[in-house]
Amino acid sequence: MPEITRHDVLVIGGGLAGLRAAVAIHDAGHDVAVLSKVYPIRSHSGAAQGGVNASLGNHPEGHDDSWEKHAFDTIKGSDYLADQPRAEILAQDAPARVIEMEHWGAYFSRFPDGRIAQRPFGGAGFPRTCYAADRTGHQLLHTLWEQCIKRGITFLNEWFITRFVTSGGRVVGAVAMHVPSGELAAFGADATVLAGGGYGRVFAKTTNAYINTGSATAAAYIAGARLEDAEFVQFHPTTLFGTNILISEGVRGEGGHLANAEGNRFMDRYAPSVMELAPRDIVARAIQTEIDEGRGFEGGYVHLDIRHLGADVIMSRLPGIRQIAMDFAGVDPIETPIPVQPGQHYSMGGLSCDEDGATDVPGLLACGECSCVSVHGSNRLGGNSLLETLVFGKRAGDRAAGLVGGGSASDGALSAALEDARRSIAALKSRGGRERQDAVRREMQSVMTEKVGLFREERPLAGAVDAIAGLKERHRNVSLANTGEPFNYDLIDTLELGGMLELAHVTAAGALARTESRGSHWRTDHPARNDDDWLKHTMATHVEGGEPAIGYEDVIITSYEPMERKY
């Protein structure tokens, strides 16, 4: 690879959001390259199971569905923190984006009449979640990748971005490292689209892939883009004890029971009318309470029992879940309950951007889970984030296409950034000392899970902010055990950890400041929603070497007055 390469648009991230943006840019007639630290089909989008929302009205009970109802459900689900015109765009564009995926080949499940099948999902008034068995993300991701291959779009596979290049206040490209060789190169572009995904690995227990560190998001934050609403983190109630692989809501939908170590079906004490089918946040807090109060099993889990459904139902309706339980927990749910505990699942917050992906920094756009548009507010509905990648991936791509020709950087800015990146990596490699990145990482993860998790309170949160600041200090002293070039994961992990600590810091600081409970953010010391003081977005700005600077911005409220979120 030459030291400096140029494209009209550089897309960073090869998940659904990045690939959808790339298709849009290509179809607008521009040259686009997709840079990703893993081959695009390895991206975490492929792990999504349940489905993608669109008010197609295909379900027998869904004829009266409409995009307006979808928008309302999204806004209510967000606990009124979503920016309403943007949630409307999400719902309005949904049918076109989903149908387009079907036209491109995505293999959706079908109703007997041949139309795309839709299933009910939590928080939705109608069954509007389109699905492909329990592998929706896989189907969409492979289809979009194939569409990119068909178009001859350039891929920079296994390139890891270390920083954005700015010139005159504009992002003009990025510096990246080729993972197999360790080589560094600069990529210049008129516009750069970041689609770097979620950052669940900041927590110890997460359904997210190992690669979901958010390091590219942190790089954008360091380059001047603000982070919005990072304190809103969705925890899924049922993740497999041990690996925290997702055990889908469908298991409870089919009739699964939750039981504590005393053998009691404890949901009768938390949500007696709906029991296990209560909303995600309520079930997650119930399970965590059982564990915290000593009624969990050793190690901290409860049982998800489906034995009473019988082998036939389990084999026909939940084959994937049975496989996961057998492969990863060594239990066959036909005979033994599944050990589950809550785990981090989704980041509602991210890089602040408008409905076309424009961030605070000219030349830089964001889409997908790394962004905050904001359509999910304080709580995302299942099936809305795959949708977000398609709707806002396309819109960010269209906007980026419109920026082509608007001036890119001189070679000077790119080569200076490249030189600087080389120097800092050389300095890291020559650093002495005993501090190891994996020890710092593990500590960050346990601080975040214990103190910035499902239940939050002032003192532990303040402790977490301090602890993260201390870990940042320790990170500056990390030295490498491997100073080689090819596949140097020690180096990459160390670089990623720096970014993860930035995101952890913002998440903890935002959670400490927000003295109310809303959606996923539950303060035991402030258990009520407080619209008078807190109907606003948290905005964090990076301050070199210091605490994130936290400010606030109004929520855009147009059609729907905030009401109590009751189901």
Partner: protein
Amino acid sequence: MAKTARTFRIRRYDPAEDAAPSYREYVIDVPEGMTVLEALIRIQAEQDGTLAFRYACRGAVCGSCAMAIDGVVRLACRTQVRGLEGETVTVDPLPNLEVVKDLVVDMDSFFEKDFAVEPWLQPAEPAPERERPVSPDDWTEAEPYTNCILCASCHGVCPVAARDPEYLGPAALAKHYRFLADARDGAGEKRLKLVDSEAGVWGCDVVWSCSKICPKGVRPTKGILATRERVKP
């Protein structure tokens, strides 16, 4: 929790540095539930940062981590160490693809074969306003083939791929059949020409090793035989 020590015997090779591959041994404690992938990550973090292997999801969905474990091709993230017999676990890279380093093999050449079968829908008619309807009966034929995660396990056990680098291989041919059998596709004749050759469906030995090894239950051999039926005049 009981712990037991296990020895991992891992094939190491850096073509830029080493004259030939060699095995290196690492001893680690293996708690209940540890997968081979977790073991490799632990070895890399605690004993040898130069060990190279690929992973992403840790949940058997992304297709990154196929390798030969005790001589059997499997996904490292789905393989429980305690489920393996013997004191020593031997780990080799996926066969039939060039080694880039240690357990990392060249996937580009594998993906090129996939691209050669034009893996995108080519309908005969322009797109309608809504979805193209597919009856559940028509849907069933291609569906199993859509589950391929391109992990290349099948390629690693294919005897034809082992001797003929030109052979498209089970994954690409399964992908080919996925589109051939898709009720919405209209490029049947053209598609058949893409694989009507020794490098295509006629190269298969029909020993079903790919179909037995697939972690996602795809049966490339079945698709290959069905394609042969269609190619015959």
